[in-house]
Structure formats: C-alpha cells, structure tokens
C-alpha cells in the first residue's frame, strides 16, 4: 500500500510537471498566446509615436542606457492615426521630468527596438497616467535609404543637366563628375 502511494504521487507529479511545461510552451512562449502573470509594480505613462517600427511589448525603457521599465502595451489610435505606447516605469524612478523626450532606438545592428528617454528640464515629474509630449518615431531603415537615394538622384540630375544620358550612366559616373568640381 505504502509503495503504491509513492508510485501514484510520483507519477502524478511527473504528469503534472509535464503538462505544466506544455502549457507554458503553448500559451506563454508564442506572442499570440495568453498572457498570464500578475501586474508588476510601477507607474504608467503614455507616449504617442507616428511609427513604432517593430517595438514590442516587453521592450525596455531606458534613460542614459539604464533600464527603467518596459513597454506594457501598444495600441493604435484611429483618430490621430498614431501608435499609443503605454510604458511602465519602475517605482524607484519617480523623478523623471515631465518634459522628457522619448525616442525609439535600435539595439545593435539587427537588434530589437527600445525606448530611450532623455531628461528635460522641468521641475515637475512624470506621474501615473501622464503623457510624454515630445517623441521621436522609430527610424525605418528602408525609408531612410529611399530618402537618401531620392535626394542623391535629384542632386545628380541637377548637376548633370545637359548630359542627355546622365540617368543611364548610373551613379558611379555621376559621383565622379561631382567630385571633380
């Protein structure tokens, strides 16, 4: 009888553990899954961005490179066509000026996005529910490249007016004519 009991408890424990692990893998790991887990301490502020890039829930919020909290929620505001990001700041960082500046930065070359706060000069501080007014959107590399090339092309055209085949010659020859001047 005794041996039977330990056997049953052992098996029960194993099956329970196995299913708990499965549950964790299926619900917690994929972003599409349920989000369990209690709310963490801290206070919340919101910031609106034109473009959040691939900022994700859970991305860190930093100031001077030190993590102060995390992104808790990202929503789309259909009235202003803006992304509303809710940040949770750890409770020990109470004294962040309310005119601080929030920008979305990239970690490393291929890394994820994070929010960097730069302190403003105000005497009043951010508190629960306040909004960060000054924000800078994520830099989308593709649009940056597009812009650069658009500029470059139109400049090249202006420089080489009169040359009929300027467009066909490609960027290299244009670059050369530019550097000669």
């Amino acid at each position: 009888m005794r041996a039977n009991r330990t056997l049953e408890i052992g098996t029960g424990l194993f099956v329970l553990l196995g299913f708990a692990a499965l549950l964790f893998l299926t619900t917690q790991l994929p972003a599409s899954g349920l989000k369990l887990g209690g709310a963490k301490a801290g206070y919340h502020v919101t910031a609106e961005f034109d473009n959040v890039g691939d900022l994700k829930v859970g991305s860190p919020v930093t100031m001077s490179g030190v993590s102060l909290g995390e992104v808790e929620d990202i929503r789309f505001d259909p009235k202003d066509y803006k992304a509303v990001v809710r940040l949770r700041i750890d409770p020990q960082y109470r004294q962040i000026p309310d005119d601080s500046y929030a920008s979305i930065q990239t970690q490393g070359l291929l890394g994820g996005k994070y929010i960097s706060l730069s302190p403003g000069g105000s005497d009043t501080f951010l508190k629960d529910g306040s909004r960060i007014e000054q924000t800078q959107s994520a830099i989308v590399l593709e649009s940056l490249i597009n812009k650069f090339f658009a500029n470059y092309m139109s400049k090249g055209k202006n420089d080489s007016q009169g040359q009929a085949d300027a467009h066909g010659k490609g960027t290299d020859s244009q670059g050369n004519t530019e550097s000669k001047r």
Partner: protein, 250 residues
Amino acid sequence: MSNGYLLEGVRRLGSVAIFFFQLLIQCVPALARPRLLLYQIYNAGARSLIIIMLSGLFVGMVLGLQGYDLLQRFGSEEALGTAAALGLLRELAPVITALLFAGRAGTALTSEIGLMRATDQLTAMEIMAVDPLRYVAAPRFLGGVIAMPLLTAIFSVIGLYGAQLIGVQLMGVDRGVFWSQTQASVDLHDVNEGLVKSLVFGVACSLIAVHEGYHAEPTAEGVGLATTRTVVASSVVTLLLDYVLTAEFL
C-alpha cells in the same frame, strides 16, 4: 555473406513492423488496466525526470554561452532568446530527450522484458492464456509514448530557463528584450514541431526497446546484446527520423 546480413536486416525490419502492428492492436485492451500503464509511466517518465532536468539545464546553459558568444560578434545579443528557444523547441529538446530516454528507460525496458523471456515468465503467461503482449509489452510501450512528449516539454522549459540564466543573469542581456524577442519569434508551429517529433521518437524508441526485449535470445548474453542493440538502434533511428521530420516541417 553480405547477402545473409542484408536478409537478416530485412527480416528484423519485418519483425519490428509485425510486432508494431500486434502491439497497436493490444494497446486498446491494455488501457483497461490503468494501473499497469500508470506504473510504466512512472517507470519511464517520473524516474527519468532528474536526468532530463539536469541535462536540460546544462544544455540550455551551454546554448546561452555559445549563443551569446556567437551573437555578440554581430552585435545582436538580443536574439539569444530566439536562438535558444527555437533551437530547444525544434531540435535539441526532442532529440536529446529521446537519446537520454533510450539510454535510461529503453535499456531498462529491454533488459526487464528480456529477462522475463530468459526466465520463461512470458511462456508461463502464454500457458495461462494470458497474452504477454497485452499485459507486458503494451503498457510499457504506451508508458513510453506518453512519457516522451512530457519529458520533452520539461526539457524545453528547463533549457530555456538555463539559457535565460546565462544570458540575462551572467551576460547581461536585458530580461525584457530576451523574453519579448523570444515571444515575437516563437510560433505555435514551433511548439507543434517539437511535440510531433517527441511523439514520433517516443513511439520509435519504445517500440525498439520493447521489441528487442521481447525477441531477445533467452540467455544472459542475449539479454545483454539486446540491450546494446536497443541503445544503438534507438539513437540511429531517432537521428534519422529527426532529419526526415525536420525536412517535413520546414
């Protein structure tokens, strides 16, 4: 000579296939004795828990170290969580669990059944009109098949914890980034892949172990040989099936 080997190989394959079929038929009536099945789940699963958890932890920690070292060369340490989670879920957890299972539980199954064969216990059962396939083989097979996915899931979770331990605690990857990147890149599809793999490996490893024991030569040497064959065949079949399944899933 080589012809004989070839024929022997084909005969063995056929024997396994027939045995598998007979076993499957006996699996349903075997469910009528849940206590037998329970004991086998305990034997194959609960008793392998320590080795699986320890291995999972260390595999995860190594993954954390190696992954960090590799990724920081490209300045993308944040992808560590993704690399560890996908590596564990898709490949490492099912394969290593199956290999450990073959060594830990498969050998035990083979030698147990082989010894039953050697001491004529199986024959005695047949004389008493008790089908040893139903009462000995099927519960052990089913126990292994049920235990394997659960062990794999535990391996994955512990391994991920180990990778997190090294990446976040030791190397200083941000905890939020680690988890958000992981969650952003892991799909239910990946979890499924690991689950299907572990189920297939569970069937393969348990089948080989039970078959080798059941058809072991009824001598001390025969049981030893059968146990060795279990480990070798299970490992090779696991790795081979892993390739096939990976190609299937990608």
